[in-house]
């Protein structure tokens, strides 16, 4: 097989850099108290979303967690709508009501943004069931962290998807920690792919820092799910470079461990390859950063310009029927 083209690599690079710079800006805006609540950054894990999203069709469904900025952006949710959501403004992709942990864009089949660990898995099974019953060829990609594997909802959902042979691609982002809990203090058997296979579905581990390995595996898995109609499991071995959220003293891991992993920064790895292959010069990263920064500046401006929702709207969308406040 011939290596990836310069174009593919340039796109993957741009995708990862966009997410990286976007979130670094979010961290800054959090300090400036423009963003509030919990903010979970994906820094270091960008290759997972950047490699997976291109493998999906527009009609496929995506279900994420509270660490989903990258997934939303790379699914095509405009950076402005994502930033406006973080600012809690009406032009946010969830009308400003959800914030960082609850990004939604059903027009793009992006079903959130779920802040209950494991809570999105049953939804993914149901979305896939609907596609099956309506004879739609779509599949559902469900992202979750390795910490979710200990939840009962993981187990029930894996079994149900396998039992009913539903088109769900389970995307486990194994970044080795659930908040401060290392995988081996959460799972008796840390080989998650083996565990997944015990439900009777194919499971592939993949280097989550290598966007091209991710892309190749994701394509294979998506094709398998679409053709077989049944589920598959992908374990992305990755790492979170930053704190779990903005309030994390990181007592649970050594700086040296973080440093080692930072040495495998997915963006650097790709740039190196591109340079080696003569597909780019060393300062390609700087150029792309400049490009995306312009996009991010525009997003921040857009968000800043967007108004707050009128507080009288508080009860709208509790029910479809506005008159039915359902309560008092």
């Amino acid at each position: 097989m011939t290596g990836p083209t310069a174009e593919t690599r340039a796109e993957a690079l741009r995708a990862m850099v966009l997410v990286r710079r976007f979130e670094e800006r979010c961290a800054q805006l959090y300090q400036e108290t423009k963003i509030h609540g919990f903010l979970h950054l994906y820094v270091g894990e960008e290759a997972v979303a950047a490699g997976t999203m291109p493998a999906l069709d527009t009609a496929d469904n995506v279900v994420g967690t509270y660490r989903e900025h990258g997934h939303a952006l790379l699914r095509g949710v405009p950076a402005g709508a994502v930033m406006a959501e973080m600012f809690g403004r009406v032009d946010g992709c969830s009308g400003g009501r959800g914030g960082s942990m609850h990004l939604f864009d059903t027009a793009r089949h992006f079903y959130g943004g779920n802040a209950i660990v494991g809570g999105g898995l049953p939804l993914a099974v149901g979305l896939a069931l609907a596609d099956r019953m309506k004879d739609r060829p779509a599949i559902t990609a469900c992202f979750f962290g390795e910490g979710a594997v200990a939840e009962g909802e993981f187990h029930e959902s894996m079994n149900l998807a396998a039992l009913w042979n539903l088109p769900v691609l389970f995307c486990c982002e194994n970044n080795l920690y659930a908040m401060g809990t290392a995988l081996d203090r959460s799972e008796a058997n840390t080989d998650l792919s083996l565990r997944a296979a015990s439900y009777g579905m194919p499971a592939w581990p993949v280097d989550g820092m290598d966007v091209e390995a991710v892309a190749a595996t994701a394509e294979r898995a998506v094709a398998y799910v679409r053709n077989s109609g049944g589920p598959a499991f992908l374990e992305f071995r990755t790492y979170r470079f930053r704190a779990h959220s903005m309030y994390d003293p990181e007592l649970y891991r050594d700086k040296s461990e973080v440093a080692t992993w930072r040495g495998r920064d997915p963006i650097d790895l790709l740039v190196e390859r591109m340079v080696e292959a003569g597909q780019a010069d060393p300062d390609v990263r700087a150029r792309v950063e400049a490009e995306v920064d312009a996009e991010i500046d525009a997003a921040v401006e857009f968000a800043d310009a967007s108004p707050l929702e009128d507080a009288d709207e508080l009860l709208t969308h509790v029910y479809a029927d506005v008159s039915a406040d359902g309560g008092t």
């Binding site: 969830s94 009501r97 059903t106 209950i116 099974v125 909802e153």
Partner: protein, 336 residues
């Protein structure tokens, strides 16, 4: 008009819904091959096949969550949870997802899901199979909670529940599956959220729903023999509550008691009492009374279980107290 049991009425309702709308399907534990734990779905598998009558594994959280996802995906699932007690295993999906998705997505994610579950005691099934969480669920914004108390409602509430764009939970009292009742042959078209006066009266208002409706109607009969003319209101919908119907009645009778098979504390009976006080306090000639289940897990032996549940005698007594407890007589210093 035809006569049937609650079981037959709900089966007919599901059959009609499945025939009318191919987006509708039934999913739950033993709804198919077994014929339904309480024989409600018997026969549906043969008519509609395993795709639309789906037996699930014992995975309450996953199959309820799958119902939510399927509803978001354009289906109209009826998810059966064998008894309300087991619904606690799916509560994360119901409260954190079904009830919040539309609001936190600013209207993007509607969840047109119907959950059916069996509620209530009286069948000596003990502390893990007998509890009534109907009123408790009514605390949660984003959910609609209904509880049929007549066989006609067993037949005709499912339609509007499925037509509703939001998640509706139907609490079916196990004691009514075997009860007979008259059922109109065509949809009477009563809105899902409307309470109904089941017996008009002038002396006090008895407010109830579900399994205790028959209890209250019998109590009203015996109260009539002692000259007390009780009005009986069947709430039907616990969330939202039909305040208008309640207040109109209490403003006429000036006295009210609330009867609920759930536990008393922080239950539906307290909510109805509080609303009456908020809305028609100055119409009240006596405190609002409550009849609820004893605050204990329901025990197995019949005599203890019956002692714990609302009874006709208990309702009659509470009604008497409400009627006698008029301000003039009770506001004497000695009573303070």
């Amino acid at each position: 008009m035809s006569t049937m049991t609650g079981r037959q009425a709900m089966r007919a309702a599901m059959q009609a819904a499945l025939q009318a709308d191919e987006r509708v399907f039934l999913m739950g534990e033993d709804v198919g091959r077994y014929g339904g734990c309480f024989a409600v779905s018997t026969g549906l598998l043969d008519e509609f096949g395993p795709d639309r009558i789906r037996d699930t594994p014992l995975s309450e959280s996953a199959f309820v969550g799958a119902g939510i996802g399927a509803a978001m995906g354009g289906m109209r699932p009826i998810v059966e949870i064998m008894t309300a007690n087991f619904s606690l295993l799916a509560l994360d999906q119901i409260v954190n997802n079904a009830a919040t998705l539309r609001h936190m997505s600013a209207g993007q994610c509607g969840v047109p899901l119907v959950i059916r579950t069996t509620t209530g005691g009286g069948r000596q099934l003990a502390a893990q199979h007998s509890h009534s969480f109907d009123g408790w669920y009514a605390h949660i914004p984003g959910l609609k909670i209904v509880a049929p108390g007549t066989i006609a409602d067993f037949r005709w509430m499912l339609g509007p529940a499925l037509a509703d764009p939001d998640p509706v939970i139907i609490f079916e009292h196990g004691g009514l599956y075997g009860a007979d009742g008259d059922v109109p042959d065509t949809d009477p078209g009563i809105p899902l959220d409307r309470a109904m006066v089941r017996r008009p009266g002038t002396d006090l208002t008895i407010i109830t729903f579900g399994g205790t409706l028959p209890t209250c109607l019998s109590a009203a009969k015996s109260l009539a023999t002692e000259g007390i003319d009780a009005e009986v209101i069947d709430l039907r919908s616990l969330r939202p509550l039909d305040d208008a119907t309640i207040m109109e009645s209490v403003a006429r009778t000036h006295r009210a008691i609330v009867v609920d098979e759930g536990w008393r504390s922080v239950g539906l009976s307290g909510e109805v009492s509080a609303r009456i006080v908020e809305q028609v306090f100055y119409e009240l000639d006596a405190p609002v009374g409550r009849v609820a289940s004893a605050e204990a897990p329901l025990p197995y032996p019949r005599h203890l279980e019956q002692a714990a549940l609302p009874s006709v005698d208990g309702v009659v007594e509470a009604a008497r107290a409400a009627v006698q407890g008029d301000v003039a007589r009770m506001a004497v210093p000695g009573r303070r």
